[in-house]
């Protein structure tokens, strides 16, 4: 599979996601500089990694969303290509209008790096085919602004269309404000675009793929992507 990880000034989890993709698919992604205007030929998957692009000094992801490379990313998405935004990448996708809503300051007003439980809402997507709907996985989050918010109409549409792919739950998969640490609306941790080829999520499955450093619940996520691209 051919993937491209976009590097913005201030990105800092680009190495983590590239390593996870290489570990699981066997193919090293290409790193693409934000100031470039095109993606490497034949790119299947575009990844916007975690970090603090441009320091996240205005709003998270706001400046990166206007970077030169984003036009190519948008076109890739319009062609139906896979686009994945993790953490800062999710914020960038929202700011760029490729996904609806915004990520606000965590309800507890602190940066938090901790493990969370995610319920996988459906398995019939390019991102989750190696899981079953209802599976609960343990992956870390590391963000200060991951509190998903959108207007009622948008939320209703996302829910109605089944575009909420991940939710924060208890270890048993129950919705519970206690386990929704950042206070996201409807405990939303990750959402899909209408055509489901664009995904944004706050947690970091890329940090839970290697048994040496922790649980491996994030492997299925990258295995799903690899399987999707192999099938295509």
């Amino acid at each position: 599979m051919k993937s491209a990880v976009i590097v913005f000034p201030g990105s800092n989890r680009e190495g983590d996601v590239a390593r996870a993709i290489a570990l699981i698919s066997g193919d090293r992604p290409e790193m693409v500089w934000h100031a470039d205007t095109s993606l490497p030929a034949g790119t299947d998957l575009v990844v916007l990694p975690g970090g603090f692009s441009y320091g996240d000094y205005l709003r998270c992801g706001a400046i990166a969303a206007r970077a030169p490379i984003m036009r190519a990313v948008r076109e890739h998405a319009e062609r139906g290509g896979l686009v994945l935004g993790i953490c800062n990448g999710f914020q960038i996708l929202c700011e760029a209008g490729l996904l609806p809503g915004v990520l606000m300051r965590n309800a507890r007003l602190k940066f938090m790096c901790r493990e969370v439980f995610l319920r996988i809402e459906r398995s019939d997507t390019p991102w989750t085919r190696r899981y079953n709907a209802g599976d609960v996985i343990k992956v870390p989050v590391a963000h200060g602004e991951g509190n998903y918010e959108a207007d009622e109409e948008t939320i209703a549409r996302l829910e109605g269309d089944g575009r909420v792919l991940f939710r924060y739950t208890s270890p048993e998969g129950e919705l519970d404000p206690e386990w929704n640490y950042n206070g996201a609306r409807n405990a939303i941790a990750g959402i899909l675009s209408e055509k489901r080829n664009v995904l944004g999520l706050m947690p970091h499955p890329e940090n839970h793929v290697d048994p040496v450093v922790g649980p491996v619940d994030g492997r299925g996520f990258f295995e799903s992507i690899a399987a999707t691209l192999k099938a295509a």
């Binding site: 000034p9 201030g10 800092n12 989890r13 190495g15 983590d16 390593r19 996870a20 975690g50 970090g51 603090f52 441009y54 320091g55 996240d56 000094y57 507890r108 007003l109 602190k110 940066f111 938090m112 790096c113 901790r114 870390p140 590391a142 200060g144 970091h204 890329e206 940090n207 290697d210 040496v212 450093v213 922790g214």
Partner: protein, 736 residues
């Protein structure tokens, strides 16, 4: 003639923190009245923070050599060989005063500064740690300081993109007016690509890189060496603001030009910015430096030479580049959006010449500026020895488990999750042992090697007996590294004390350093970098002597590391080391009685080594399933931590005859570990211990969901966990 406005008066000299005899020394050195800019320069070079004038003679007694030491103290950071062509580069530094005045920015810029020290040497930072000391929880400022400092450390490290993997947090009323923020950074470099500060070659361009210069922190270094009075909060505008985003770009740009072979010498601009960095580059290389300040990128208009020379704006570097690579280096810096300016050149004059607007503002002998700095053998008082407490003379007012609950719920021993959850401790994907264990473990590249790292000191001990306390801090760091299976390699230290002009304080300093030196020698654990922070006192009341030790060790195969969480039921719980009952200066005495009394536990370094070496070799043979070193709180706190980390309980045996129960369980005797092992492995372990001449004692068995002890009401592990986790969130008024 040098322009000389304003006129140098005794008042002005005093405002610059120079004593009259120091000023005379300087005047004699240059043979005339200095200019105002020169006064500023010398005040920066000769203050305590930069010149180490009170501590230098003592620091020279620290052992700094070992076959694996590539660079000891004296450069931006220490460097040790870790094999496979790789080196570990690390250092710790304080940002105490700025953090008290503006906790968020003070702590943030402290992290920024120490990261720069590490990547200046050509290393990519792989981890940060921090050791924090706050005032009493009841002090009205403490809560705000905790919130600000923790957010600042996180704010900088998280954005920069390096995991913060360990540290320590403590509270004591003696830090009410002077908190401690000690930040440590660890990086990895190739052994043949380490960069140093010494400039070489005449007529080479001196290049300024990074952010622009503003009026930040002018006199910051002087402030760090001044005692606080009640008006300290008036010294506000000297606060610097950190920009982790620029620092991240600076890191990438610096590593890129180093890779491309552009750099001859490099020095970050830390305390006293342009002054210290330029003088060091010249003096170390036996060269002169000429600076033209008109070329310095500034953020504000009308900055004077004095201001530019003393500005402590962050995220800046000074370099000497290979002339033929100048264009290439510039292109790299422009790509990262950073300032790049040629601000001077190297000369053979050995003078430090500063020009501004066509005038010569300073013209000083460069080597003498550093070498001739005053050096003091300050008088010191020998610390008084405290009596050894007889455990039998201190009755236990509480049942054992009630005292345990109290200890686990105390500010010093409670879980620091609330703190470290605000630090990204997972980024880069190499954190094998996360915060909460003995030492953090960070994988090197794709493994199997890994580095272990920790910070330790018990200020209570150092106050009661500086010599034993200094030894203990080193021994505990060594023990923490050993407890995860690592081979301890070297330390960085951060010596935080009060006013050295008072003989009692100087006595604390001298004896702590002696203790550190003795322990480092005995444990083959050299000091490769460090930092001294003096004058930590307010209105004549000093902090507890706090020589923080940052230790680094190596694991050849991280698959052979262990952690403190019980693994399963029905394993034997063993004490490696002697039974003990040392209650003097214990956490138990402090927490249960509110008394800090008696002599602290002595450290038998030979036994420390024997015991640690045994534990490490047993871990290497995979005979131990869990290991935890003993420190604050003693045996029972260690066992409780092992239970809480796993949710598995333990059935403990009664103490041996002759040991009062509370002293046995809460005594803080040194050189000890609690381990668990499978029954089948016990004979081999016992044989090895006997051969090593180390005592091995059975304490009980793992299993169940509670701790039990003959004659006491059992206690649920979940009850302990709740106590352990609740103090900090409740105190801070927000969930973790």
């Amino acid at each position: 003639m040098l322009p000389n406005e304003p006129k140098i008066t005794p008042e002005l000299v005093a405002e610059h923190g120079l004593k009259p005899d120091e000023y005379e020394r300087f005047r004699a050195l240059i043979g005339r009245e200095p200019s105002f800019t020169e006064l500023g320069i010398v005040s920066a070079m000769w203050n305590e923070h930069c010149s180490y004038k009170s501590s230098k003679v003592h620091l020279r007694t620290l052992p700094t050599k070992a076959p694996w030491v590539i660079q000891g103290p004296g450069e931006n950071a220490g460097v040790i060989d870790i094999g496979d062509g790789l080196a570990c580069v690390f250092k710790m530094e304080s940002h105490n005063h700025p953090s008290f005045i503006e906790p968020y920015q003070g702590a943030a810029t402290g992290v920024g500064g120490i990261l720069r020290d590490v990547f200046t040497m050509g290393a990519r930072p792989i981890a940060c740690l921090n050791a924090l000391r706050f005032g009493s929880p009841d002090h009205p400022k403490t809560r705000r300081l905790v919130a600000g400092v923790v957010a600042g450390i996180g704010g900088y490290g998280n954005s920069f993109g390096v995991p913060t993997v360990g540290g320590a947090v403590g509270f004591h009323s003696r830090y009410d007016g002077n908190i401690l923020v000690n930040a440590m950074a660890v990086g990895i470099a190739e052994t043949d690509k380490i960069f140093y500060a010494a400039a070489t070659g005449v007529g080479r361009p001196v290049v300024y890189l990074g952010s622009k210069t503003g009026r930040d922190g002018i006199h910051g270094a002087t402030m760090a060496s001044a005692e606080f009075g009640d008006d300290s909060e008036e010294k506000r505008p000297t606060v610097q603001v950190g920009d982790p985003f620029s620092e991240k770009l600076l890191l990438e740009a610096c590593l890129e030009i180093m890779r491309k072979g552009c750099v001859i010498a490099i020095q970050d601009m830390g305390a006293a910015g342009l002054t210290c960095s330029a003088v060091e580059m010249g003096a170390k290389g036996d060269l002169g430096i000429t600076l033209d300040l008109n070329a310095v990128p500034t953020r504000e208009e009308g900055m004077s030479a004095y201001e530019m020379m003393l500005s402590e704006s962050q995220e800046r570097m000074l370099m000497v580049l290979k002339p033929e690579k100048e264009k290439e280096a510039e292109a790299i810096f422009r790509k990262w959006g950073l300032d790049f300016a040629i601000v001077g050149e190297t000369t053979d004059s050995k003078r430090f010449l500063v020009r501004h607007g066509g005038d010569v503002m300073a013209d000083l002998p460069i080597k003498e500026l550093g070498d001739e700095a005053p050096e003091y053998r300050r008088p010191f008082a020998e610390p008084k020895k405290l009596p050894v407490l007889d455990p039998a003379s201190i009755p236990s007012p509480l049942p054992i488990f009630a005292a345990l609950e109290k200890l686990l719920g105390s500010p010093d021993l409670c879980s620091k999750r609330w703190v470290w959850q605000q630090y990204d401790h997972l980024i880069l994907g190499n954190t094998v042992q996360r915060p909460g264990g003995d030492a953090a473990i960070v994988r090197i590249g794709d493994g199997p090697k890994a580095l272990a790292m920790t910070t330790d000191v018990t200020p209570r001990y150092c106050e009661a007996d500086p010599f034993e306390g200094g030894k203990q801090a080193v021994a505990e760091a060594w023990r923490n590294l050993t407890a995860v299976g690592a081979r301890p390699l070297a330390v960085t230290d951060n010596l935080n004390f009060g006013n050295p002009e008072r003989p009692e304080i100087m006595g604390q300093f001298v004896y702590c350093v002696r203790g550190i030196a003795e322990a480092c020698r005995a444990l083959d654990f050299p000091v490769v970098s460090g930092n001294v922070s003096l004058y930590n006192e307010t209105n004549g009341r000093a902090i507890l002597p706090t020589p923080t030790i940052g230790g680094v060790g190596l694991l050849d195969d991280l698959a052979k590391s262990v952690n403190p969480a019980f693994k399963k039921a029905d394993e034997a719980i063993l004490l490696v080391g002697e039974f003990g009952a040392w209650l003097g200066q214990s956490a138990w005495l402090a927490t249960v009685f509110g008394r800090e009394e008696g002599a602290p536990p002595p450290v038998d370094l030979a036994m420390e080594k024997r015991t640690g070496d045994l534990v490490r070799s047993l871990i290497g043979e995979r005979l131990l399933t869990t290991v935890h070193d003993l420190s604050d709180g003693g045996l029972l706190v260690a066992i409780a931590e092992m239970a809480m980390a796993s949710g598995i309980g333990a059935a403990l045996d009664a103490p041996p005859p002759g040991f009062p129960s509370h002293a046995f369980w809460f005594g803080e005797d040194q050189a000890r570990y609690v381990v668990t092992a499978a029954a089948a492995d016990l004979p081999r372990i016992e044989t090895a211990a006997a051969q090593a001449g180390v005592k091995l004692r059975h304490l009980g068995r793992t299993g169940g969901s509670q701790l039990t002890l003959p004659g006491e009401n059992p206690i649920l592990v979940s009850t302990l966990q709740a106590r352990f986790e609740s103090w900090l969130p409740e105190y801070m008024g927000s969930p973790a």
